[in-house]
C-alpha cells in the first residue's frame, strides 16, 4: 500500500481531522516544504511554495462541510497545479481527515494561454480594418465582428 502510495507521482498529503500531517508522497515536498519529521505537525505551520493563502481555511471548510474543493493554483516559480481537497472516509464510512492532491496542469494552462493570445491577436487584426467586418462560422452564425458597426460607418 505504501509503495502504491509513493508511486502515484501525484503530490498528495493526508491530514487528520485536526489538520495535522499524517502522511505525504515525495512529490508533495515540491509544493509544501514538508519533511518526514513534520508528520504530526499542523499543516498551517509548514511553509509552502504556492501562491495561495487560503490552503488552511479551504481544508477547514472541507472538514466542516464535507464537500470537495478544487482550485487552480500557481507555485512561486510559475507552474500551475489543480489542487483538490477531498474528505477522507475510513472503511467504516467515518470522516477521518482530508486528502489534498496537486495535479500538474502546467501544459494545459500554457495551451489555454496560447489560445487566448491567438484569439486576442485575431481580434486586434480585424479591429485594424476600418470597414465593418463579420466572421461567420460554418453554420453562418456570427462568430465575431469588429468595432466598426454599420450605423457608425455612415
Amino acid at each position: 500500500m505504501k509503495n502504491l502510495f509513493n508511486s502515484t507521482e501525484i503530490a498528495t498529503i493526508f491530514l487528520d481531522k485536526e489538520m495535522n500531517i499524517r502522511n505525504f508522497t515525495p512529490e508533495a515536498s515540491t509544493l509544501i516544504k514538508i519533511r518526514k519529521s513534520d508528520v504530526g505537525r499542523p499543516i498551517g505551520d509548514i511553509a509552502t511554495n504556492i501562491k495561495y493563502k487560503y490552503l488552511e481555511s479551504d481544508i477547514k471548510q472541507v472538514l466542516d462541510r464535507l464537500i470537495m474543493k478544487e482550485e487552480e493554483i500557481q507555485t512561486n516559480d510559475g507552474n500551475w497545479y489543480l489542487m483538490r481537497i477531498v474528505p477522507y472516509r475510513t472503511s467504516e464510512d467515518v470522516i477521518d481527515g482530508v486528502v489534498v492532491t496537486f495535479v500538474d496542469i502546467n501544459q494545459r494552462m500554457i495551451a489555454e494561454k496560447k489560445i487566448k493570445d491567438a484569439l486576442k491577436y485575431a481580434e486586434s487584426l480585424i479591429n485594424t480594418i476600418k470597414e465593418p467586418v463579420l466572421v461567420l462560422d460554418h453554420d453562418l452564425k456570427v462568430f465575431s465582428s469588429n468595432k466598426y458597426s454599420m450605423k457608425n460607418s455612415i
Binding site: P132, V133, V135, H138, S153
Partner: protein
C-alpha cells in the same frame, strides 16, 4: 449592429433580417462548399438615413477545430456595381 447584439446569431436573422439576401446566402454556402471567394457583391441596405448600396466581400478565413470560417468585409462608401 453592435458586436454584442449580433454575436452567435444567424446572418439571416441579424439586423431585422436585412442580411437575408438569397444571393448572399448562396455565395456564403459556396465559400463553405467549394473554397470560393467573392469580391464586392453589391447589396442595397437600409440605413437609418435611407437606402444605400453596400459592397460585401467574402472569403474562407480559417479552418481548425471550429470548422470553416468566413470573413466578410463590408464597404459602405462609394460602392458601385463592378460585378463579382
Amino acid at each position: 449592429m453592435k458586436p454584442e447584439e449580433i454575436a452567435d446569431k444567424y446572418i439571416y436573422q441579424i439586423d431585422n433580417g436585412k442580411w437575408n439576401n438569397s444571393k448572399l446566402i448562396s455565395l456564403l454556402n459556396k465559400i463553405l462548399n467549394e473554397e470560393y471567394a467573392f469580391h464586392r457583391l453589391v447589396m442595397e441596405y437600409e440605413f437609418a438615413t435611407g437606402k444605400k448600396n453596400i459592397c460585401i466581400s467574402g472569403r474562407r478565413s480559417y479552418q481548425g477545430e471550429a470548422g470553416e470560417m468566413i470573413m466578410l468585409t463590408i464597404e459602405t462608401g462609394n460602392c458601385k456595381q463592378e460585378g463579382e
